[in-house]
């Protein structure tokens, strides 16, 4: 039985408190009115000093051009459409209002990114677990309880995301621009894209679908885990077979729910843009993160003496999965990016404009290095994959890279060129990391770490690679 060490508990609570303060600070300092925005931008220019003033102006102009391009093609916000229609430029009210929305979106974006990140890690851990079950894997049963523990965050994580989506639907923020657009050509906030998309992008449908996705995940986690415990208690093979069946059904249902979840929660932020691959890409990103988290938790527990049977071969296998799925993620990233870059169709290219060439370039390139170059170099060697601290190092880089990946998926459509990495972002990351650690390790205490009645457990114990 695992006992939640008080040091780790304190650590996670401290993270939650510091994170909550950071989140509060983010909301508190977000501009309330257009005047705040003007003051904010003025201060920013002042702080750059006289020497760079001209440069700032150029930058500002450049980013405005990007806005005009995206505005013209995408009609990012209803207000911007007005502004385009009026044919005004520069310091007009529409522009400032647009900047205000983006600035107000900042604390929301800061919490949305880790919120999605940790929830999907947890869901993908369940996927990984279900795959191990469905594939009758002989090496991994020793790690089943670790995987079950990581899925513990699905419940609370889902509720937080649902609350966020409801808040967005009630116009608490401007995260989903389509929620402010109208399909009616005579309306002031008309958006041509909504004319063809409002059959899917409408608030009731969006919320109902969100409830369906999370119910599927929470429901299957509940039944799969319950079954796993029953098997342990009774040793009856029928529970083992039922776990297999549940896992298979979950994988099928998950694949479909994930397809639409990614379209809804992430792709619709840039609602003028679309990519057929998108859901697979999101899955790959979160799947490799989930495997990494499983590896990190395993290494932690083993270092505390809770998983005596887990040997270096198990770590080696997990590290191999981290390595392989990092490359798989890169493959899908490349497929999505290269095909749209190659064809360069305007409505698709606008998505990559701020990311590849615009303000997000450092993040975009940086996460590519973290998620691909680093793992391929670090985890190629078979011996290194058996060294725990090496796997931890690689794992932390992979997790950071995929957090940035989600950030680059979300932020360009919500805060646009005004992204920063400051107290709200770090605070939110710490908050959700703390919550995740707290919930996951708490759920690890709920069952013995060794599933003793699994028919493959002996294979897993003698596993050597």
């Amino acid at each position: 039985m695992y006992t939640f060490s008080s040091r780790l508990k304190t650590f996670s609570l401290v993270l939650i408190i510091i994170g909550a303060l950071g989140i509060g600070y983010g909301f508190f300092t977000a501009p309330k009115t257009v005047d705040d925005v003007k003051a904010m931008m003025h201060n920013a220019e002042d702080s750059h000093g006289a020497a760079t003033a001209e440069h700032t102006e150029v930058d500002d102009h450049a980013s405005k051009d990007v806005h005009e391009v995206t505005g013209a093609i995408k009609g990012e916000h209803a207000t911007e459409n007005d502004h385009e229609a009026a044919g005004e430029h520069g310091d007009d009210a529409g522009h400032y209002e647009h900047v205000l929305m983006q600035a107000q979106n900042r604390p929301w974006t800061a919490i949305y990114v880790p919120m999605i990140f940790f929830l999907l890690i947890s869901v993908c851990a369940l996927v990984y677990y279900a795959i191990q079950r469905a594939a009758s894997a002989g090496w991994s049963p020793l790690l089943f309880r670790v995987m079950e523990g990581v899925t513990g965050y699905i419940g609370i994580g889902s509720l937080i995301v649902l609350a966020f989506l409801v808040a967005s639907a009630m116009h608490g923020n401007h995260m989903f621009a389509w929620m402010y657009a109208s399909a009616d050509p005579t309306a002031a906030n008309f958006d041509f894209a909504m004319e063809t998309k409002d059959w899917w992008l409408n608030i009731p449908g969006f919320l109902i679908r969100a409830v369906i996705y999370v119910s599927i995940w929470i429901g299957f986690r509940h039944f799969i885990l319950k079954n796993s415990r029953l098997q342990d208690e009774s040793g009856d093979l029928k529970y083992f077979k039922r776990s297999f069946n549940l896992s298979v059904v979950f994988l099928v249902v998950f694949l479909v729910s994930e397809l639409f979840m990614a379209f809804d929660w992430l792709m619709s932020i840039d609602h003028h843009w679309f990519s057929q691959l998108y859901s697979f890409y999101v899955f790959a990103s979160m799947f490799v993160s989930a495997i990494t988290v499983i590896a990190l938790v395993t290494i932690y527990l083993r270092s505390r003496g809770f998983l005596p049977q887990v040997n270096d071969s198990h770590i080696h296998d997990l590290a191999k999965y981290m390595f392989a799925f990092s490359i798989f993620w890169t493959y899908l990233w490349y497929a999505q990016f290269m095909l749209q870059w190659y064809a360069n169709i305007p409505e698709e290219a606008t998505y990559f404009y701020p990311r590849l060439l615009g303000e997000y370039q450092p993040l975009f390139i940086g996460m590519l290095i973290m998620n691909f170059v680093f793992p391929i170099l670090v985890l190629m060697n078979s011996d290194y994959k058996r060294i725990p601290w090496f796997v931890v190092l690689a794992g932390l880089i992979i997790l950071t890279g995929h957090y940035l990946d989600v950030f680059v998926m979300v932020a360009p459509g919500t805060v646009g060129s005004h992204w920063h990495f400051g107290i709200p972002e770090i605070g939110a990351l710490l908050f959700f990391a703390g919550l995740f650690i707290f919930v996951v390790f708490n759920s690890l205490t709920k069952a013995p770490l060794l599933p003793k009645e699994n028919p493959f457990i002996k294979e897993s114990e003698v596993f050597h690679y």
């Binding site: 894209a193 998309k197 379209f263 691959l277 497929a335």
Partner: protein, 469 residues
């Protein structure tokens, strides 16, 4: 405990085999004589092959105009068959490389034939990029070689050039991987050969393999490295094939999901072809104890998984087609326009063969049944041909300009070449089945003690009589 295996796992070698039994069973088709049905099958395949050669010669001699292509639909059966054959080839590498990485013991009964199938399928595929050229004699211009034309170079931006690199690399790596695995088996045939000619041949092809510990250790390392290289290769090859379409701006072709979806489709169709071949081979070559119900069921599970991925990708295509709101997407291969348009039959063939019929494999009775498996595998082969046909022809038939809308019908030359490649494929495969060890006996022997039914029985019930090896 190296040989420990959970009792719950089914044996994958049946018939109480010893090491020697495996040798005899694998060597039997090579050492025996071909029977009448082999000659009949071979003759039919050869005739089809010769007909194909005739069709190819006629095309090259007269011009591409003898095909059914037109100005708008300028790719049809040629590239359909190309993609179909490349796709079929992918299962072989999946079985030998990906399943090796996943330590799937059941791959050992089938990997040799699956790889052979890969290589013979890639041969067929490789024909089409050549013969669909208007000027095949200038084909070598696709290679970046220094030349007297001011060193006129190729443009590396074309996916058709990437195809050249992908297919040639794929063929060479698959060939090396296959041949490396064959060394111990050829050596076994060599050591058993009584006729001098046979001995000479198998001595040549087994490269003096003597099975020393050091050789085995390196053999294993090379296999693992090659499997590690072949896995990204197999993904990238069909990805590059999908780029032929996806990099374009043609509605229905320009889609980001193509790379993984083509790969999943390739594995799907490839496994169906492996089933088609192995279900016959296990009977005619008396290999029922090595290609068992478990193998067939496992392959059907892979078919189910990849078929599911393909179906979800169809869903993604269809959804995003609606979601874009682009009116051009109304006529692409997965749209209401296609379902009701002039190619409705091709559309529904695709849906029924790929997304509906394979769902029968959810039933355990069906996926463990040889006859059912054979029938469904044939449907998948047909369905995957239609998938490529639909992608190419339906999308080209109704493009941006209605004034260019047209249809396609193949000529007897189109059909003749396709039939010819099927003939050529079976000529090679039938010859292979008589001269190559069709089961990787060295590998199968390595799992005999963990997964042979006699050893499993003995381990689960130690009081039973000890098995002689």
């Amino acid at each position: 405990m190296g040989h420990y295996e959970a009792p719950i796992r089914e044996p994958i070698i049946t018939g109480d085999k010893s090491y020697h039994d495996i040798t005899l069973d694998v060597a039997a088709p090579i050492e025996g004589k071909a029977n009448k049905s082999w000659y009949i099958a071979f003759t039919i395949a050869l005739i089809a092959f010769l007909w194909g050669i005739g069709s190819i010669a006629y095309t090259i001699g007269t011009g591409i105009g003898v095909w059914g292509l037109n100005n708008r639909i300028n790719w049809a059966w040629d590239i359909t068959n190309f993609v179909w054959w490349v796709g079929i080839g992918h299962a072989g590498t999946l079985i030998s490389a990906v399943l090796l990485l996943f330590r799937q013991k059941w791959r050992m009964g089938i990997n040799r034939s699956a790889e052979a199938m890969t290589i013979f399928a890639v041969f067929q595929a490789g024909l089409f990029p050549l013969i669909h050229m208007g000027r095949i004699w200038n084909g070598f211009y696709t290679l970046p070689v220094p030349n007297p034309l001011g060193s006129l170079w190729v443009n590396f931006n074309s996916p058709l050039l990437w195809d050249v690199f992908a297919i040639s690399t794929y063929l060479s790596v698959s060939l090396v991987f296959w041949w490396t695995g064959l060394l111990p088996d050829f050596a076994m045939i060599r050591d058993r050969a009584t006729k001098p000619f046979q001995k000479k041949i198998y001595s040549l092809v087994s490269f003096g393999w003597s099975g020393k510990a050091k050789d085995w250790q390196r053999f294993e390392e090379v296999s693992l490295v090659l499997a590690g290289l072949a896995t990204p290769l197999v993904l990238s090859v069909h990805t590059i094939v999908s780029f032929d379409f996806a990099t374009s701006v043609i509605p229905g072709w320009h889609s980001t999901v193509y790379p993984p979806y083509f790969v999943a489709g390739a594995v799907f169709s490839g496994f169906a072809m492996v089933q088609t071949l192995l279900l016959i081979m296990r009977k005619v070559s008396n290999l029922e104890d090595y290609i068992t119900r478990v193998h067939v069921e496992n392959m059907n599970k892979v078919i189910l998984v990849t078929g599911g991925i393909v179906t979800v990708a169809y869903l993604s295509e269809l959804f995003v087609g609606w979601y874009t709101g682009s009116s051009y997407e109304d006529f692409v291969y997965l749209s209401v326009g296609a379902a009701t348009g002039p190619y409705w039959w091709a559309f529904w063939s695709l849906i029924i063969c790929n997304s509906i019929i394979p769902q029968l494999f959810w039933f355990k009775k069906i996926r463990r049944n040889y006859i059912w498996t054979f029938i469904i595998a044939i449907f998948i082969n047909i369905g995957m041909w239609f998938e490529r046909f639909d992608i190419i022809v339906i999308n080209l038939s109704r493009g941006h300009l209605p004034s260019s809308w047209t249809q396609f019908s193949p000529t007897f030359v189109d059909i003749g070449i396709f039939v010819g490649t099927i003939g050529f494929f079976f000529v090679l495969f039938l010859l292979y089945a008589r001269t190559f060890p069709v089961i990787a006996q060295a590998e199968v022997k390595s799992i005999l003690k963990s997964s042979g039914n006699n050893f499993k029985r003995e381990r689960d019930n130690p009081s039973a009589v000890k098995t002689e090896v």
